[in-house]
């Protein structure tokens, strides 16, 4: 429902058009949230505080809202949840400005290829098929996401990597341990390793990914390490460095984006380096 279409993303490299109402639009750099009037700064929030319902709790909710930069803030709903917790809905105006020129977005810095183009690039560039190993690691058993990228069936109308003639896909499935994954990658001399992480409670996805990238760094000489890609709905795409991987994909990723990145990383970039 809210999945951003990949292509519109790539072409939107600037803040959009918001001008005085009724007048021709001009690009804006500084924005505020919009309730029903330009510049009103209105937002909605809800949260729980671990305290009994009452005036003090409502005051506490207001205090939090104010610390978050809301002024005025209205506590429009407060409900006791048992003796020790209270749930709030707060509406109000935030005074922060959004500066669109200060946003770092991981834009696609490589061309989006059709399966045909990708196949051609691999054939010409690698002169052999590209081998890709995929898995859900740790205790994560959510395979739907990685399958969406790998299986022929694909995602959002795009075929998955199995459909690419020049890509060999080894999908290890769910709950693969990191040593198992490294071993499999070595066994099939993987060019790239694709890992999915969906469970995020207590930062499971971050910890598992770091463990995985460290293991590959350990097991391979730097110049022979397969390209490491991680994906899942709650990843922040700008975190690749912190996670020790080459690329992070988040919610709504489509197979072609991944295939294109792999071609870029394994064919185009390596050729350029060579």
């Amino acid at each position: 429902m809210s999945t951003p279409a990949a292509d519109t993303i790539a072409t939107t490299g600037q803040a959009d058009l918001v001008g005085p109402p009724g007048e021709p639009a001009t690009p804006a750099r500084i924005l505020r949230p919009y309730g029903d009037t330009t510049g009103d700064g209105m937002v909605q929030m809800s949260f729980t505080l671990p305290m009994a319902h009452g005036k003090l709790a409502e005051g506490a909710a207001l205090q939090l809202a104010q610390k978050m930069g809301m002024d005025p803030a209205m506590v429009v709903h407060a409900k006791a949840m048992g003796p020790g917790y209270c749930f709030f809905v707060v509406y109000g105006r935030v005074h922060h400005l959004v500066d669109t020129s200060a946003i770092t977005v991981v834009e696609r810095d490589y061309p989006l290829l059709s399966p045909k183009e990708a196949n051609l690039a691999v054939r010409k560039g690698l002169r052999r098929r590209m081998t890709v190993v995929g898995a859900c690691i740790g205790s994560d058993a959510h395979t739907v996401g990685i399958d969406a990228i790998l299986n022929i069936k694909g995602f959002a109308g795009e075929k998955g990597l199995e459909y690419y003639r020049e890509i060999r896909v080894v999908n290890l499935g769910a709950q693969v341990s990191v040593p198992q994954l490294v071993a499999s990658a070595q066994e099939v001399t993987a060019d790239a390793v694709l890992v999915s992480q969906v469970v995020t409670q207590r930062d499971a996805h971050v910890l598992n990914t770091r463990e995985m990238s460290a293991a590959f760094r350990e097991a391979y000489p730097a110049d022979r390490r397969p390209v490491l890609v991680v994906g899942g709905p709650r990843f922040d795409e700008s975190m690749a460095d912190q996670l020790g991987v080459d690329r992070v994909f988040a919610r709504g990723t489509t197979p072609a984006e991944v295939a294109s990145f792999l071609v870029h990383a394994l064919v185009t970039r390596r050729k350029a380096a060579a």
């Binding site: 109402p21 029903d36 009037t37 209105m42 909605q44 429009v76 809905v89 509406y91």
Partner: protein, 540 residues
Amino acid sequence: MTPAGSDPRRRSGTTSTRARRPKLDLDPVTVRRARTLARKVGRPIVRLAEQHTTVSVERATLRMAGLVGADPEGTPWANRLLDSVRGDVGLEHGVALPVWDALVRGAAGDLGELAQKAAVGSVRFRLPEGRDATRAAAAAKKSVGAGLRRIDARRRERERLIKRHGDPSQTPWIYLIVATGDIYEDMPQAQQAAREGADVIAVIRSTGQSLLDFVPEGATREGYAGTYATQENFRLMRAALDESSKELGRYVRLTNYASGLCMPEIATLAGLERLDMMLNDSMYGILFRDINPVRTFVDQRFSRQVHARAGIIINTGEDNYLTTADAVEAAHTVTVSQLLNEYFAKEAGLADWQLGLGHAFEIDPDVPESFRLELAHALLARQLFPKAPLKWMPPTRHMTGDVFRGYLLDGFFNLAGMMTGQGILLVGMMTEAVVTPWLSDRDLALQNVRYVRSAAGGLAEDFQPAPDGLIARRAQQVLAESIDLLTRIVEHDDGLLDAIADGTFGLMRRPADKGRGLDGVVPLAPGYANPARELLEART
């Protein structure tokens, strides 16, 4: 636009038309009885309306004849001119004869100039007699007739556009409000709402406009909780929605309020600017704005005649009762008001397809079986007025700051609307108890409607209230209570006026000799002439 073509229910694929049998077994004799009583209650009021005029009816006549604009302080020339005439010769004969007498006499080249001259005292009015009167009357009729023809042309234009762009493909029609107070914020919000599926856009009026005895002028940006109804705002918004209609391949309707002290004038402006629906209730102003009852009934009749002529669908205001009275206890007052609104509307020439009779989903959600009681009420209205589109209003009174709960309630409201074949669905906002709707509230609300319509719209087919079940019994009870109430009204010495005076509706007491705008009510003198009223009457 033909009445049939514009009856939202006609195009229904998923509503009552597919049901196996009428969902309620209403006794036809009882139903006939209810209508007879409503006629009995209403007829004296129509007579009362025929015997009076008001400042606003007379100003509407001037506007119909083309008088526009305002003085530098913002007082419309229609008001200035009317006040001059009233000061010189009184109003009991109408403005038409004195005004066109002056024009015929050459006191000014047109109405605008005349108003300006009158304002500075350089014209004085008289009541023409004999040949002068005949000549003035003819000139007036010509001017006003031209105005009526402009309204007719807008009606034809609407029919053309509907043919070109098409009507909504489903019922209920989706009705959304915008209410920023600034027409320039309203326009993009309305267009966005249309894009997301709104079939009808209502621009809510600024608080307090209903008590203004003049219609503000020009494009406005400073309303409170709504945007002023002005001719220019009407024009701007209609143009914006014409753009949307083209973009979307679906004629998007525009609504405003013919309500308050200027009801007749606003109705006229609506006809001239091709608005498509108007809030217009026979008693709302009396009960909720403390407007004098006689003033209201006179203004009502004129405005409804204009709406009939302009092909405008009216939306009545029964939902409002349930914001002050309890929706279960007072359910029958809604039915009674619907019956009266129907009577007054038909008397004024409105066709069935123009009767957006109101009702609302306002039962306290904590009442056991509240949803099924809502279904009972909604079905009763549906079956009592099978050819009227019916305007189904969302929960407001029992909405709270818990916007999640509010979003759910609105979903069940939408479901009730679909299950009972309502014609026009005013989309509820999760922020009802918080703020006037945000852009995102509207977007979320439309998503709610789309889900319910697509997923469960067809449930009407499977909905067959048990013949002796809660729903059937409740509907019968409300109908019986309505007949009791109508009977009690008829038994009042002075019928409806007395009933209104003693708090029968919405718990408000409104005596006939009190209330705002009373000084704008004038009993007709013999020889009263008003070409607008004559032309409109002739048509009906």
